[in-house]
């Protein structure tokens, strides 16, 4: 709980905006602190387009907040109207003209109601395929960082949030075009095979920031009042049942990746190759297979989590009366 963070000092903010330290250091911003309110609104907005038996749709919105040294503080968020029929199938969601107009109007109107925080970024969802930036996302974010810095990109995965039992969310900033980022390989990500190209090609164009969350004492009180609803719904939830489509898509994705890995191994074995190449190929196959193995472990562990909840519930509520 942190109430001081809610105090807004426009002079300090203006000084930071004038100094623009991020211009000289591409990795100036290292942390993000997001309010519980913003997190809830983002998760609910993203989750609103995930309906059982229907293809989940991407959503998009803006972040409001302020700066504090190397930290971007996100205090609130607001959804953007994405016109129905917008191409939302690929790993990007393009705001229509309507969304931009809405954003401009919103940022003007909030000043009238005394909300002093500026827009400090945008968020969008990748339902079911993890938190990273696609090619389109990278170029959108780069443009924003060029003209509207400081600007943060947040990606949330509402489908995996249900599977993992916690909000799958990531915050990113891009490097300028041509910046040679000798990044350490980003930690392993389970990315569906139909998006792996998009993920691989751009992985070095951006970096991930550490995320932490805060809430006000009022938020804490309101969330406590929700405690009963929370624990009743948690005990009465069946992720295995609710997440059936997602688990199926994960299993079919693992199967596809295994086919690919097997194909490459088979191909390498029969085509004549010299020793050096064999060694290189061996490494490649291992990395292919090891990625598939990690994806499989992830799915298996999530599914076993779901099952263990069912077994606990059966033990708690179905055990014959003593």
């Amino acid at each position: 709980v942190d109430d001081d963070i809610y105090k807004h000092d426009p002079i300090t903010q203006q000084q930071i905006l004038t100094a623009r330290p991020w211009k000289s250091d591409n990795k100036h911003f290292k942390d993000v602190r997001m309010s519980a309110l913003a997190l809830l609104k983002i998760q609910m907005h993203a989750g609103s387009e995930v309906k059982p038996g229907m293809v989940p749709l991407e959503v998009m919105g803006m972040l409001q907040g302020k700066l504090d040294g190397n930290t971007i503080i996100v205090t609130d968020s607001f959804a953007l109207p994405i016109p129905a029929g917008t191409d939302r199938g690929a790993a990007h969601v393009n705001p229509g003209q309507e969304a931009f107009e809405y954003m401009v109007q919103y940022t003007e109107l909030i000043k009238d109601v005394g909300k002093a925080e500026n827009v400090v970024g945008w968020y969008h969802s990748h339902p079911g395929y993890g938190c990273w930036l696609s090619g389109i996302d990278v170029s959108t974010q780069r443009t924003q960082q060029q003209f509207s810095d400081p600007f943060l990109a947040v990606v949330v995965d509402p489908v995996r949030s249900i599977g993992a039992g916690k909000v799958e969310i990531g915050a990113f900033r891009t490097f300028p075009e041509g910046y040679a980022n000798n990044a350490t390989a980003s930690e392993w990500q389970s990315v569906p095979s139909d998006r792996i190209e998009d993920f691989g090609v751009h992985a070095n164009c951006y970096y991930q920031l550490e995320m932490s969350f805060y809430k006000s004492s009022l938020d804490a009180k309101l969330l406590d009042l929700q405690w009963r609803k929370y624990w009743v719904n948690t005990l009465a939830a069946s992720p295995l049942t609710n997440n059936r489509d997602y688990i199926t898509s994960q299993i079919s994705d693992v199967a596809e990746k295994m086919e690919k890995a097997e194909g490459e191994m088979g191909h390498g074995r029969y085509a004549g190759m010299n020793l050096v190449q064999a060694d290189k190929r061996k490494k490649e196959e291992d990395s292919q297979l090891s990625k598939v193995t990690r994806d499989t472990n992830k799915v298996t562990i999530e599914v076993l989590h779901g099952l263990s909840r069912q077994v606990l519930k059966a033990a708690l509520f179905n055990a014959p009366a003593p």
Partner: protein, 40 residues
Amino acid sequence: ALLRMILSLCHKLPAMDSEKFNLSYQNEYHDTLLISYLGT
């Protein structure tokens, strides 16, 4: 009144005890174990 409430709570348990439920539960259980077996 409190005791009556507690008594009616006891009547709510076990939460479900029908042939159909046991079948569905076992199905889900076996599906999950099969997935973990496949994963292994």
